[in-house]
């Protein structure tokens, strides 16, 4: 508001400038009036000085406001993005999200710092000037206004093309940033396939295109500017001609010579003021057009920002979400699930896990084991059926309350860039050193961590680079254990360990598992042998259920998975049976 007031004051002040100038030309100089001349000059100087001062102050205010707007937009966006479900992150590359978060919001800076206010100022100035012109001489005012439609016509000619170019430029930027992110992330793969050259070539190609788009959009916006300016110049010229003609054709009959001179002088004063005003009239119009040129990229940025802000998180807490400690009884009742945009992954999953039990999920790759775990952690909501924890629908819990009481060791271990200790503390930021060491010991990690150059203060690379995969897994287990969760989900948590290390971890876990519900997903038989219940999944369904002893002795998928010799035998047998059946049927139908 303050800014607006200052701006209006500024433009009001500027109005006087041409008047004073016209006084000098028209009166002070011809009449050799020193006093008038000096006071006009002083007046003009003070207008300019005051203007500069106000401008300075205004600029500061604008930057302040603009900065605040951008800051709050980024904060809002970051908040929002964190709330979005996994599906969002799966469908976009991190680099692209980042480009929107930082780049697109930045392009809005121009819009808030000034563009809006300057538009108001320009409109205000233009209106005052038009009034003044009509007051001074309506005929010439009409001439001056006659060219303005040309200005606005240019808008229709350039706007769509320019806005498309800016969209392309932003899009290209975000593609490039997404790609670089991905390539750097997968640097090992890129090098492993010696694809560095190829990646560089792709990227350079993209950069070149980006450059061409920039050139094109620059060319368009300067052509637009040049077009507008030319219209203004032509307009000014026409006005000058008109003014000149009016003065030339001034009807002096019936005037004395002195009176005639006086009249001409009056005309000159009016017209020099008018010409100055006409210049000032076209300036805000050009400025308006320039503003449009600035708004266009900002609008593209805004659209891209809102594309994300408008996404609603799939998983939200209900109004009276429950927050409470859980005991750990997990029930699935007829649960069905399909990932967004893909086919049914789970069908009719029903089981109950009592507190303290350990449940093993086994099955061929792609059977849906990880998906079951995702549903327990509420990374997704089930599409059919209900999942209950302690008898209450998971959808009624506050997400954070629930997740705080469970730990997951994911199939793909992720460790942050930072020290070993920091990574372990991620599970429980206020854990003591003793707790850290204890968790690491349980996970059979203490030994190797101590052997690292700086022990717990060794810095790991992003994704846990610089330590082995098995070591990473052990750190991930430690990170999960440190929170002392009620529910523990281990998705292939020990798959990369050698049998001896796995045994050790297993032993440690079994003491821990006694009083919490644990879900173990594994392909290796040794990992799941001792589970209380083994659920065998195939194609999203539970096909067998029982303990190891029960399952290994009967025909079925479990035995097929863990008794390969038997499985091969069985398959051969089945094929023979099918053929026999087919033959029998053929014979039957023939006879």
């Amino acid at each position: 508001m303050q800014c607006l007031a200052i701006m209006l004051l500024l433009s009001g002040l500027n109005m006087f400038y041409p008047l004073l100038f016209a006084e000098i030309i028209g009166r002070a100089l011809p009449n050799q009036d020193m006093e008038l001349f000096m006071s006009c000059l002083v007046g003009m100087l003070s207008i300019r000085m005051i203007g500069e001062g106000l401008g300075l102050w205004n600029g500061h205010l604008l930057r302040l406001v603009g900065g605040r707007v951008i800051f709050s937009l980024r904060k809002k966006m970051y908040d929002h993005v964190q709330k979005l479900s996994l599906g969002f992150f799966e469908s976009r590359s991190p680099g692209e999200i980042n480009a929107r978060l930082m780049g697109d919001t930045a392009s809005l800076t121009n819009l808030v710092t000034g563009t809006l206010l300057r538009t108001i100022e320009a409109v205000f100035t233009a209106i005052i000037i038009v009034c003044l012109l009509f007051y001074l001489d309506w005929r010439i005012a009409l001439v001056a206004l006659a060219v303005t439609p040309l200005h606005f016509m240019s808008y229709f000619m350039f706007e769509r093309r320019l806005s498309h170019e800016s969209w392309k430029a932003t899009e290209k930027n975000s593609q490039v940033s997404g790609k670089t992110h991905e390539v750097f992330d997968a640097s090992k793969v890129v090098k492993g396939y010696s694809a560095e050259r190829r990646e560089v070539r792709t990227l350079v190609g993209q950069l070149r295109e980006g450059h061409e788009i920039q050139l094109q959009s620059g060319w368009l916006s300067s052509s637009w500017g040049a077009f507008t300016n030319s219209v203004s110049h032509i307009g000014t010229l026409i006005v000058m001609v008109a003014c000149g003609l009016v003065v030339m054709w001034l009807d002096l009959d019936g005037f004395t010579e002195a009176e005639g001179r006086e009249a001409i002088q009056q005309g000159v004063v009016t017209f020099s003021a008018m010409i100055a005003y006409v210049g000032m009239l076209y300036a805000p119009i050009s400025q308006l057009i320039g503003v449009v040129g600035q708004i266009i990229p900002a609008r593209v940025g805004l659209m891209r920002v809102y594309e994300i802000l408008d996404l609603e998180p799939d998983i939200v807490d209900e109004a009276h979400a429950i927050r409470r400690d859980v005991v750990g009884r997990v029930e699935f009742e007829d649960v069905g699930f399909a990932y967004p945009m893909s086919k049914q992954v789970l069908t009719n999953i029903t089981f109950t896990a009592e507190p303290g039990q350990s449940i093993a999920l086994v099955g061929p790759s792609g059977a849906g084991k990880t998906t079951v775990a995702n549903l327990i952690a509420r990374f997704y909501d089930a599409s059919e059926g209900t999942i209950r924890i302690d008898g209450i629908d998971v959808e009624e819990y506050a997400i954070h309350s629930l997740r705080n009481q469970m730990s997951m060791v994911l199939q793909e271990t992720y460790l942050f860039r930072g020290t070993v200790r920091e990574n372990l503390l991620y599970g429980k930021p206020d854990a003591t050193d003793a707790e850290v060491v204890q968790a690491a010991t349980l996970a059979n990690a203490h030994e190797f961590v101590q052997a690292l150059p700086y022990g717990y203060d060794t810095i790991l690379g992003a994704h846990g680079a610089r330590i082995s995969v098995g070591q990473r897994q052990r750190l991930a287990i430690a990170r999960a254990l440190i929170r002392d969760p009620r529910l523990l989900i281990l998705d292939e948590a020990t798959s990369a360990l050698d049998t001896a290390s796995e045994m050790k971890v297993q032993e440690a876990l079994s003491t821990l598992m006694s009083d919490r519900t644990t879900f173990i997903i594994a392909h290796r038989l040794s990992t799941i042998r001792d589970a209380d219940i083994i659920l065998v999944l195939d194609d999203g369904r539970i096909v067998q259920k029982g303990t190891h002893e029960e399952l290994i002795s009967i025909d079925g998928l479990f035995r097929k998975l863990y008794d390969p010799l038997w499985a091969r035998e069985k398959e051969k047998q089945e094929e023979e049976e099918l053929r026999a059946l087919a033959e029998a049927e053929t014979r039957e139908s023939e006879s």
Partner: protein
């Protein structure tokens, strides 16, 4: 009649991992531009001659061609657009683009609500590509994507589940489908279809068919043993004679699903719905799920109905924001119309179709 109209047309081509925008391709595009030059008088978003760009799509690089056309008279529209389509096709055929056409978009102000400006594009498409075409509304109301739709049934049948597509059969179809994928060697050489058998008012049934030159006992037996479904043989000739009787497995599966995204088609325009918004439609219906199309309801009345509706998830029944969101989303899609503080279902609601949308390049691929 003079009615200027600008179309911004873009064709996206299928990506290729070894594509690069070489000088010879640039030159070829220039040449294409000379052949298909048209004016826009600087009014379109693109230039009057084609401009080529590349998009990184995953690991590969796809190209896109952009061009604008200004049609001054109404009867110029279709030929001008058809010309552009021919150019798009030529670019794919001559290897200028990265691959075959994957999808096309057209943009003009308020495209969503201008059926008569859409029609020439539709006609031009059918003329050049000799296949049906429909429009999908994109995020903004000015851009439409051209694609093809498989029409299942009227949306109302889907909502009431009293049409030929029934979710009871969806798992069966999927079982057959996944069995086909599991033993590809055994099942190859034949085509597999579903025949929905349906008389209004009764529970629909499905029959599975496979067609080829000769019946195969081993296929029948394996399928019966593995998926407990019976396949009936049908000569390819018989099949081709009456194609409307049969539906591909994938289309039946899509049409019978009661989860995932939902596409609806109104006046040749496709819009996507989220299933979460559907409860609102049920609020407009009576107990027998008949939509009284001329009845209007106030917000309060709808809220009253929502509180007791079995179609609204229990947790949302008391939520007024839920109702607001559903109203907003369905009004944006013209399924619910606000009318002076009251709401009604769109008068042509019975004609709204439940469809599955495919990008141009994906329509044929869906059958594998």
């Amino acid at each position: 009649m003079w009615r200027p109209q600008v179309y911004d047309l873009v064709a996206h081509y299928e990506p290729r991992s070894d594509f690069s925008l070489t000088h010879s391709i640039r030159a070829a595009v220039k040449e294409l531009g000379r052949k298909y030059r048209g004016t826009t008088l600087m009014t379109g978003a693109h230039a009057g001659s084609p401009v080529i760009h590349t998009d990184m799509r995953g690991i590969s690089i796809g190209t896109r061609l952009e061009i604008s056309r200004l049609a001054l008279r109404e009867r110029d529209r279709q030929p001008l657009v058809a010309e552009v389509f021919r150019m798009f096709r030529e670019a794919a055929e001559r290897g200028i683009a990265s691959g075959p056409i994957d999808r096309m978009t057209v943009k003009f102000p308020n495209a969503e609500s201008k059926p008569d400006a859409r029609q020439p594009i539709h006609d031009a498409y059918e003329e050049v590509f000799d296949s049906s075409c429909c429009f999908q509304r994109m995020q903004d109301p000015h851009t439409l994507r051209l694609g093809r739709a498989v029409v299942h049934q009227a949306l109302i049948h889907h909502l009431r589940e009293d049409g030929p597509y029934h979710s009871d059969h969806q798992p069966r179809v999927e079982r057959v489908h996944s069995e086909l994928g599991r033993r590809p060697g055994r099942y190859e050489g034949y085509q597999y279809f579903v025949e929905p058998i349906f008389t209004p008012g009764e529970h629909p049934e499905v029959v599975f068919h496979y067609s080829g030159d000769e019946p195969s006992r081993i296929i029948e037996v394996t399928m019966r043993q593995k998926s407990e479904e019976t396949l009936q043989f049908m000569k390819s000739k018989t099949m081709r004679a009456d194609p409307s009787r049969f539906v591909s497995l994938i289309d039946y599966d899509q049409g019978a699903r009661r989860f995932g995204r939902l596409w609806v088609m109104q006046e040749g325009l496709l819009r996507r719905l989220d299933r979460e918004w559907l409860p609102l439609i049920y609020l407009f219906m009576d107990e027998d799920l008949n939509p009284p199309l001329d009845a209007t309801f106030t917000w309060e009345e709808l809220y009253e109905r929502q509180r007791v509706s079995p179609y609204v998830p229990r947790a949302q029944r008391l939520s007024s924001t839920f109702l607001d969101i559903c109203i907003e989303r369905l009004s944006e899609r013209f399924l619910v119309l606000p009318e002076g503080g009251r709401f009604r279902l769109q008068p042509l609601f019975r004609e709204v179709q439940h469809v599955t949308f495919y990008e141009l390049g994906h329509y044929d691929k869906r059958l594998g």
